[in-house]
């Protein structure tokens, strides 16, 4: 009988407790979606913490940027958009914008002027791609290699990926055509400014796949940004492509025997969008946050925590030392002139037009 009583009491207690939990504080909070890991961490420190302190708004992090497009579609369909600000790569922002899932932005109206007095539209310049995208960082996809496993002659250019004779061993590449196809053509003798012209043709696509086929047996395909760092740390691969910020953390923060190439690295942008379908109150809050988080100082601040370049020109001179390691961050930025000697510009329009087609070919080729 005691048992029954205990059970009843605990039941009553749990219900009472749950009632108090259930009380939500929706009033003054916003959900910001990003990529998680070190990247979210850098945003937390550079943007969220100071913003929460300044305004008292509570920011909830959601790490769903990977599937942001699909989720926003579902939310729209269900008529229940729960996100306030979403961090996506430029290509995804263009898609969301085309589908009417992201709000259009007037940069000079909605974004702060630069510290040097320049208008936002000039300060961001070319990086303002599409009508909805608010650029935040510039990153590049590049190749890291194990210094102790590549032999005496360290690789110096991107074609080391395809050179099985000089660098035998496994390499990791992203499981998608973007970047891989471009690199394959570059290393198959196609000039840099002709890559996308060649890739438009069926023969050109076949040429890229044929080049990739020469190393296919030695490739580990990755899909999450954390894969290549893990594979390199394990020594499972001798080289692999990933984002430059991941390699920075692997080399400088984790002290692994790894070095990185700054050759034909593919430049890309990441930034914010505001979903459509927010109430006026939430929209005002989201715009206020965006105004704060993309000003010159915040963008420069983020570079203290992660090796991605700020998207504003006026932020570049303010890039400082790493917050914990105290090393100068400027030489680790994809925007640093020394690193940007031979960059490869990612062509958004090309991929917007050809992505589905080439994706299908690439996936079919993968399973062959």
């Amino acid at each position: 009988m005691n048992l029954t009583k205990t059970l009843m009491t605990s039941t009553a207690l749990t219900v009472a407790a749950s009632m108090s939990f259930a009380e939500s504080h929706m009033a003054n909070e916003m959900t910001i979606v990003s990529w998680g890991g070190a990247y979210s961490n850098s945003q937390q420190k550079a943007y969220h913490d100071p913003y929460m302190e300044k305004t008292g708004v509570k920011i909830i992090n959601d790490e769903s940027s990977n599937e942001a497009v699909a989720k926003l579609r579902a939310m729209n369909e269900a008529g229940n958009v729960t996100w306030d600000v979403v961090d996506v790569v430029a290509a995804d922002a263009l898609r969301l914008c085309d589908e009417g899932l992201a709000m259009e932005i007037d940069p000079d109206e909605m974004l702060a002027d630069g510290d040097d007095g320049s208008k936002a539209s000039d300060d961001f310049g070319d990086l303002l791609v599409g009508d909805c995208f608010i650029p935040q960082i510039v990153y590049s996809t590049t190749v890291g290699y194990r210094t102790d496993l590549v032999g005496d002659k360290a690789p110096t250019d991107i074609c080391a990926l395809f050179d099985l004779e000089a660098y035998p061993g496994k390499r990791s590449l992203e499981k998608r055509p973007i970047n891989n196809m471009e690199w394959a053509l570059l290393c198959d003798g196609v000039a840099k400014d002709e890559v996308y012209d060649v890739l438009e043709t069926a023969e050109g696509q076949q040429q890229a796949l044929d080049k990739l086929a020469t190393i296919k047996d030695n490739v580990v395909w990755w899909s999450a940004g954390a894969d290549t760092p893990q594979l390199l740390a394990d020594g499972e691969v001798i080289m692999g492509s990933t984002y430059n910020g991941r390699l920075f953390s692997l080399i400088e923060e984790q002290n692994q025997p790894v070095a990185m190439l700054w050759d034909a690295q593919v430049f890309d942008l990441d930034g914010w969008i505001i979903p459509t379908g927010l109430t006026d109150e939430r929209k005002a809050r989201a715009l206020d946050y965006i105004m704060f988080a993309t000003d010159t100082k915040r963008l420069a601040d983020q570079a203290k925590y992660i090796a991605y370049g700020p998207a504003r020109k006026s932020s570049a001179p303010l890039v400082d030392k790493h917050a914990e390691l105290g090393i100068d961050m400027a030489p680790h930025m994809p925007t640093d002139p020394e690193n940007a000697k031979n960059t490869f510009l990612y062509n958004y329009e090309f991929w917007a037009d050809y992505r589905d087609d080439i994706d299908a070919k690439f996936q079919a080729w993968l399973v062959q």
Partner: protein, 392 residues
Amino acid sequence: MVALTPISRTEPTFYVPVVAAFGAFFGVFIGTGQGNLIAGVLGGAILMGALAFILTKLIKNEKAARWGLTLLIALGGFALAGIPGLLIGIFFGWFFGFLTFWLYEGRYRAKIPPYLTPGQVLWHFTFRVICGAIFVFLITPILVVMPLSFNAENFFTFTPEMLRFDPAGYSLKHYRDFFTNADWQNAMWNSLKIAPVATLLSVSFGTLAAIGLSQPHVPFRRAIMAILISPMIVPLIISAAGMYFFYSRIGLQGTYVGVVLAHAALGIPFVIITVTATLVGFDRSLTRAAANMGANPVTTFFRVQMPLILPGVISGGLFAFITSFDEVVVVLFVGSSGQKTLPWQMFIGLREQISPTILAVATILVGISICLLTVVELLRRRSERLRGMSPS
């Protein structure tokens, strides 16, 4: 177990090849480890076969022979691979010493019936080996995670320091991270807020449903039962997508209540099944007797029926709790980031940042699961005891 069959020593033509075969098997691992498979296999077979013959024919004393063999192989392992090699060597030495004399003295025959043919005897042991292999296959992925969670590095890697058993290769930092990191703590509290309430709902509704459905006069019993159990059978992703759209329409998506209700729906089938099973052994004349003495149905339920079916209720509740605690698909759809649970946090952690904190959390969760399942097992035994005493 007592010996069933008188035993006698066997011939070297029998036990030497068997021991050699095992030697060849282990030689596969050492051979591939050293880069030469064939040499490993042949070397293992010849070495172990020869040792078996020498031990049984030249050193007659079993104890001395087995200790000697263990020492010898342990030293060999140490020479090859340091301290880990030593430990593996001790195990190998012990195993081969045991195997040699087990076969040589004919002990393997003692505990199985004397009428079995050699083929049946062989199958008897092969069967055990297969069962062992399945067990290893199931349990290894879980065990591998545990030492890795004490890694001093930030990767899922057995570092050379760890393999040398160097204390510097180990650390508790991933556990510290779990207990100090705001994201993980938040996730843990969310899980702890959601799971008990979902369990409570599952247990209340599941028990009532099970009792109702065990009454013979309820119409469409089977159909209702099938519908209630369907969350267990329908693929989770389908339930989750359905719940997402339904809950969005009625304003429950992304709320605490929504996640609790979704998890309760997932937990109810477990409770129904366990409680129904307990009710099979419940003697209905007890409730009639209680009614006869003037107790109303509610009193009868709490004073007579409940105590007897309690083990079933509690084990169902534990399953419901574990379901809610381990569930990731539904919460990803129905919850919003404000209800991020532990499995959700682990999921995004695995995708974005391969950090051994996940392994530390996994180890803790495995520990919790083992505790809960032990409780279930103890309750089951208690229920069996009780049922033995009950008048049915």
